[in-house]
């Protein structure tokens, strides 16, 4: 692919994205507008994440892509191949070996370390969007730090269901200032957002927003004193590696509706199995 620039994007576009990333890091949780480009993959399929990755990757990086925690889902494969081709970067499935990890919907189980960058694909960056569809209004609410609507919504959940009925894309408050959408990660992953050693960058292509969490940033999931935030997952062990601390996918394995639970993070699960851990469904 010699007809395209390194990492596909032209240098001027990369500079524009890089400037947005720096402002995002300086104002954690604030959504920086950026002139998202049309990418050779559809909006909604990770174009924001791809643009951010393209702006941060160097030829010496090792790149990992996960979708739903897995390296082998088709869209993860497609994005990984794109950067192999356009940036010539080394790729890996091992979380600890990667320097840049692009993800959709999960944070790896293994704690990330300094020197790593986690790039999230974000569909709807505005945490208030489903409460107020107008961008002009939500922008005002952020500027005035007016988040009452969000608390009302969460509280209505409690009065109707006895619990906050948000299980993914669970809103967080960053450094006591901006309410932020952590992208549609399960709320199980919310606990990993704060005080992370790696840099976290969020890219929303279609919605033209970039935002960021520097390392060791304070991130608090919204809750109430009498209804504290609770990270949850299926109450099972991984059938393959026996892990009790990882987020699980539920699989239907026979016509009778038989179930099995396995780690959503395929690298985590495989590493545990390689180390000799065995779940009840493993061969």
């Amino acid at each position: 692919m010699t007809e395209y620039n390194f990492a596909y994007l032209d240098e001027q576009t990369k500079r524009m994205i890089r400037r947005a990333i720096l402002k995002g890091l300086a104002i954690p949780g604030y959504q920086v507008p950026f002139a998202s480009r049309e990418m050779p993959m559809p909006y909604g399929w990770g174009t924001g994440g791809v643009q951010v990755s393209a702006a941060v990757l160097t030829p010496s990086d090792t790149f990992k892509v996960i979708d739903q925690g897995a390296d082998d889902t088709t869209n993860a494969v497609s994005i990984r191949t794109f950067f192999q081709r356009t940036a010539g970067v080394a790729t890996t499935t091992a979380t600890s070996d990667a320097t840049v990890i692009q993800t959709r919907h999960r944070i790896p189980e293994e704690p990330l370390h300094e020197g790593q960058i986690l790039v999230y694909q974000v569909p709807i960056p505005e945490p208030l969007r489903f409460l107020e569809p107008r961008e002009s209004e939500t922008r005002k609410m952020h500027s005035l730090e007016e988040y009452g609507l969000m608390h009302v919504k969460l509280y209505e959940d409690i009065s109707r269901h006895g619990h906050i009925a948000t299980s993914y894309a669970y809103p967080v408050k960053v450094e006591g200032r901006y309410v932020m959408d952590p992208s549609p990660i399960p709320k199980f992953d919310n606990a990993k957002l704060g005080d992370m050693a790696a840099i976290q960058l969020f890219g929303a292509g279609r919605e033209q927003r970039i935002y960021a969490l520097p390392p060791y940033t304070q991130v608090v999931s919204l809750d109430f004193e009498d209804h504290p935030f609770e990270a949850s997952k299926a109450d099972h062990l991984c059938g393959m590696c026996g892990a009790n601390d990882s987020y699980l996918d539920e699989l239907i394995i026979d016509d009778l509706g038989g179930r099995m639970f396995v780690c959503s993070d395929t690298d985590y699960c495989e590493a545990r199995q390689a180390a000799g851990h065995k779940g009840k469904d493993a061969a």
Binding site: E38, P40, E135, A165, M260
Partner: protein, 362 residues
């Protein structure tokens, strides 16, 4: 025994190979050439250029071929290509007054300087399938006459002499560039027009139609619709003057709309404007109606809550590449999120069940 599914890469490669085969179809049938698409499916080519925001009939034809005739897919190919092109500069504004018109009609005046020119239109064709086209056949040559020379004045200029229509003052401010800056509200008219000219034809048509049915009605007359080619000039700093770098075919629609006025200001017609690449008149007329509906605020009209009056709604949903991408992304796996919902619903049901049991016991 469960085995994690592997081989996504091979699945993708195989899917692409199959797609290529399907695209070609039965190899006993001659393959379409780009020239055939460009010449014989020219309105499809025009739409791809208009919504792809790139004037290049050959590339648009290639995109249509590659996309198997899926117009939005073809537009997407053009957009993705367009973003990678370096920018050498901006042209001078084109002058539609010197357009070499293939078609030029006014619904507001029976006759006018420059005349009514029907041009190559479907308008009065009877929509009867022409089975002669199913067989190969030569087309008899259409009658022709010498082209008119000179400028073709705009209808609105005649109204303007009497002060009957609002002024459209000349403005040299460079318009914002939607493709280089994030869309921001409120959007001025130049930005709205820019978004509308590349907006999805179907969406724009639906909105325009809704204004005609009363959702933000603006009583539009087609003051003028003209289709033809205009020269494109670019200022070359090294030369110190503008030179013609090519020609583009455009469709321009100016609507004359319901009048405004008050006790202090005499009534005046207002304007809607549409300008689109290629022969794309349905889109240009739709654009003019939606443009006019979006101008309610500056013209001091009421916002009746019509979708076509809502700039934020219109501009954020008019782009078919954004829309189709997000719509179709729900095909991608979402099982992590679904699992978290599943757990939550199970938990809520367990608790609701326990509560019912307890209430029954009490």
């Amino acid at each position: 025994m469960y085995v994690a599914v592997k081989g996504g890469e091979r699945a993708i490669e195989n899917a692409h190979a199959w797609l290529a085969e399907e695209r070609r179809g039965n190899t006993d049938v001659a393959e379409l050439s780009i020239a055939q698409i460009r010449e014989q499916l020219s309105l499809a080519v025009n739409r791809v250029m208009a919504e792809g925001s790139l004037y290049d009939p050959d590339l648009a034809a290639l995109a249509i071929k590659q996309a198997r005739g899926d117009m939005i897919e073809a537009i997407f190919l053009i957009r993705a290509y367009r973003t990678t092109l370096p920018r050498f500069g901006a042209s001078e504004p084109v002058d539609t007054g010197i357009m070499a018109c293939d078609r030029r009609i006014s619904a507001t005046f029976k006759d006018l300087p420059g005349g009514q020119v029907l041009g190559p239109t479907f308008d009065y064709t009877h929509r009867l399938l022409d089975f002669k086209l199913a067989a190969d056949g030569d087309v008899p040559k259409a009658p022709s006459r010498d082209a008119e020379t000179g400028t073709v004045p705009h209808v609105t200029e005649f109204l303007n002499r009497e002060g009957l229509i609002e002024e459209a003052p000349h403005n040299d401010t460079p318009p914002p560039d939607l493709t280089r800056e994030p869309l921001e509200m409120p959007a001025d008219r130049a930005l709205r027009l820019q978004a509308l000219t590349r907006a999805d034809e179907g969406f724009t048509l639906g909105l325009a139609y809704s204004t005609q049915r009363g959702y933000g009605r603006n009583h539009a007359f087609v003051g003028e619709l003209r289709i033809g080619s205009v020269p494109v000039e670019m200022d070359i700093p090294e030369l110190g003057f503008a030179v013609e770098i090519g020609e583009v075919t455009l469709t321009e629609c100016e609507t004359v709309n319901q009048f405004t006025g008050s006790k202090t200001e005499p009534p005046q017609f207002t304007r809607g404007y549409g300008l689109v690449f290629g022969q794309t008149e349905r889109k240009a007329i739709s654009m003019a109606l939606v443009d006019r509906a979006l101008r309610w605020e500056e013209l001091g009209e009421d916002n009746v809550g019509a979708p076509a009056q809502d700039a934020e709604f219109v501009l954020y949903h008019a782009d078919n590449i954004q829309a189709t991408g997000f719509l179709e992304h729900i095909k991608l796996p979402h099982y992590v999120d679904f699992q978290s919902e599943l757990e939550l619903v199970r938990k809520l049901r367990r608790e609701a069940g326990a509560q019912q049991v307890q209430e029954a016991a009490e």
